[in-house]
Chain length 216, copies 2
């Protein structure tokens, strides 16, 4: 019965997500669901992406957190529309939370919506929000065994960004092993090595994003 | 109704946890529930702790993961009893999984049971397993804002280990701000700065653990 309840919840979630997607499409807004462990660099990536797209693409942001509005305040300084969702304990965003947030985002003024999910490598993978692409940020300090331990998240991602590669000299992390493990779970995934601290690799990520948006 | 279901689940979990605790007490086994984000260093801490306690305290380990037995294999090389729980998608251990695991751990041969929870800073905080102490590992690369974003986990911890302090020179992280934020949520918590890579601070953590066990 517990499984039945979960199936009903996921099915209802998908229906609302489909409605979100239709709303976004009707406004020509491309949405990306950014997921990662706590502290892997979601907010830093959003900041770097906004900077690279300045003057080219109008960006809006939804910030998902259990509590606090720390990230929304940081993003707000960039002068882009940003909305904070506090889940109040929930370990992931869902389509309904996103639906409620969308009515408070000026969709007519943006072309790209970056949705920062709750920092969690497990539960967010199960809930589609209506996004066009799922992007997973996995950082060097987390270790290169993560695809084996959290396979669903790596399976669902359209792109994996390996962040904090500036820390490679100080940590044991085999990017080749890691990339092969991801490809074993998800053959079509795009993998980028980046550092939000140094800016390395951000250009390639942004180019890929623009291609997905049909803007290159 | 969803809230009612959750309350029932948590209440049932507490009853089983209480049974686990009684079983552990009857065997004079002290149990620690180790929680953290993915890759913060739970397995490394277990390895360091086993090494420091060799010849003094007999240790057993339960490894919790969604899938894979990577960590159990690493721990097994230390020659201590280790049992892998694969949750099959579940984002946390619960008392029932722990109960089933306990019947496969040679409790009569150990004095300390280290339980590695699933890597997740959210859901494991809600499920007591029957442990005597909850220990949270939070690592420098995750950033010093985590207590504000994941308050329940920091509230529930008996001790917080700030791991990977050897990376402090390469990252922005204010240990003073971080410690004050934790104390604001959880006045009585013990905080240790450690590095499983260099061994720094492990001695103090192990001393604290021995005091909790009534062995010092």
């Amino acid at each position: 019965m517990e499984i039945k309840v979960l199936k009903d919840i996921l099915s209802a979630n998908e229906q609302i997500a489909e409605r979100n997607r239709q709303l976004l499409d009707s406004k020509n807004v491309f949405a990306v669901n950014l997921m990662s462990s706590p502290g892997a660099g979601k907010t830093s990536l959003i900041l770097e992406t906004i900077k690279r797209l300045e003057g080219e693409i109008k960006v809006g942001v939804i910030e998902g957190d259990i509590s606090s509005s720390i990230d929304a305040e940081v993003i707000g300084k960039e002068g882009v529309p940003v909305l904070q969702i506090n889940t109040g304990g929930e370990c992931h965003l869902d389509a309904n939370m996103t639906y409620n947030a969308l009515s408070n985002v000026p969709l007519q003024d943006i072309e790209l919506l970056l949705i920062e999910n709750v920092g969690n490598l497990i539960c967010p993978a199960e809930f589609v929000l209506g996004e066009h692409k799922k992007v997973l940020i996995s950082s060097i300090p987390e270790g290169d065994d993560k695809p084996f331990k959290y396979p669903l998240m790596f399976h669902k991602a359209d792109a994996v960004l390996i962040n904090k590669i500036d820390l490679l000299p100080y940590l044991k992390f085999d990017t080749e092993t890691f990339s092969q493990a991801i490809k074993g779970i998800n053959e079509k995934v795009e993998i980028f090595q980046i550092s939000c601290a140094t800016g390395q690799g951000i250009e390639k990520w942004v180019s890929w994003l623009l291609v997905q948006m049909g803007r290159r």
